[in-house]
Symmetry: C2
Subunit: 155 residues, 2 copies
DNA sequence: ACAATTTAGTTGCAAATGATACTATTTTCC
DNA sequence: GGAAAATAGTATCATTTGCAACTAAATTGT
């Protein structure tokens, strides 16, 4: 019988959810960061931008902000860096002069075609052995925590 | 029937576990950071140090490194800052001259006695409504991901 | 016993990050 | 139609962070 009302008596860091979440996330992010840095010379932020563009082109910077959960300054820097390396190109937005349309260049697209399988393999290595429903519950709980933290932060 | 062998066809950022994990963790960490900054003037790192000392005193810096998953530079800075505010004190280690024993001062202890319930309440707000076993599975999976990421990073 | 190595902790420097301010457009609404 | 407010994106500056070098003490091996 689950008991949602039970409370913890002591504060033990190893059992403290925000701590565990942070440590696990940092460990996973570090792995990812190194993998993409080593194989493609991309930061995690550049990689996120490429991942979004690979699935949905073109995008405005604002679209990337929403799709990547990055702040607009971070997106701006990532796009500039990717443009410098020739992975993406900016073109004028047809109707909004403040905005630019961002898309992958052919070399950028080729890189994405290499990245995507590598990214999925990494995820598979992390999740190997867990059942589909187990994974779904885990992701659902992550989403719920994210949402609650957002709500609690508003006050 | 769970199927652990199934693989994903496309790379979709919103469904990508490392991404979700990072976003959720950042959101929760942000909440925590702001809560401790506002109420106690502590950074997350200072708070972690205090949380460990509150449960197990005294500690060497190295002990804090192991207990908090922080790197030694971060621990050094957090301890110095806490010492400057009078929350912790350093004394000579009886047998090792390189090391110092770190413990809470009486005001530091008093602060901890305020912090601990606030921290547990925050955790309860985040987890409210989830069953004990659900939470346990979630934490277990976090631990497993952390461990696998560590292993994969070694190669 | 003592040179070489390891360990504890701090410092300094360079890169990453985040908040704020700024420019240039576009939208709102009177 | 035009002033005021909002939005897209960039630049600037202060803070944070992480790495590598450093000092000092302890340990190891001969």
């Amino acid at each position: 019988m689950p008991d949602a009302t039970e409370t913890k008596a002591r504060l033990s860091l190893p059992d403290y959810l925000p701590y565990r979440l942070s440590v696990a996330s940092n460990q996973v992010s570090g792995l990812i960061a190194r993998a993409y840095q080593d194989r493609f010379g991309l930061t995690i932020w550049e990689w996120r931008v490429v991942a979004v563009l690979g699935e949905a082109e073109p995008q405005t910077a604002q679209g990337l902000v929403e799709a990547t959960a990055m702040d607009k300054v971070t997106v701006s820097r990532a796009v500039r860096s990717l443009a410098g390396k020739g992975h993406v190109a900016r073109s004028r937005h047809h109707s909004d002069g403040r905005s630019a349309m961002i898309r992958l260049t052919p070399p950028g697209r080729a890189m994405y075609d290499d990245i995507a399988p590598a990214a999925l393999k990494l995820e598979r290595d992390l999740l190997d052995g867990f059942g589909k429903s187990e994974i779904a519950r885990f992701m659902g709980m992550l989403a719920e925590l994210e949402s609650r933290a957002g709500t609690l932060a508003e006050t």
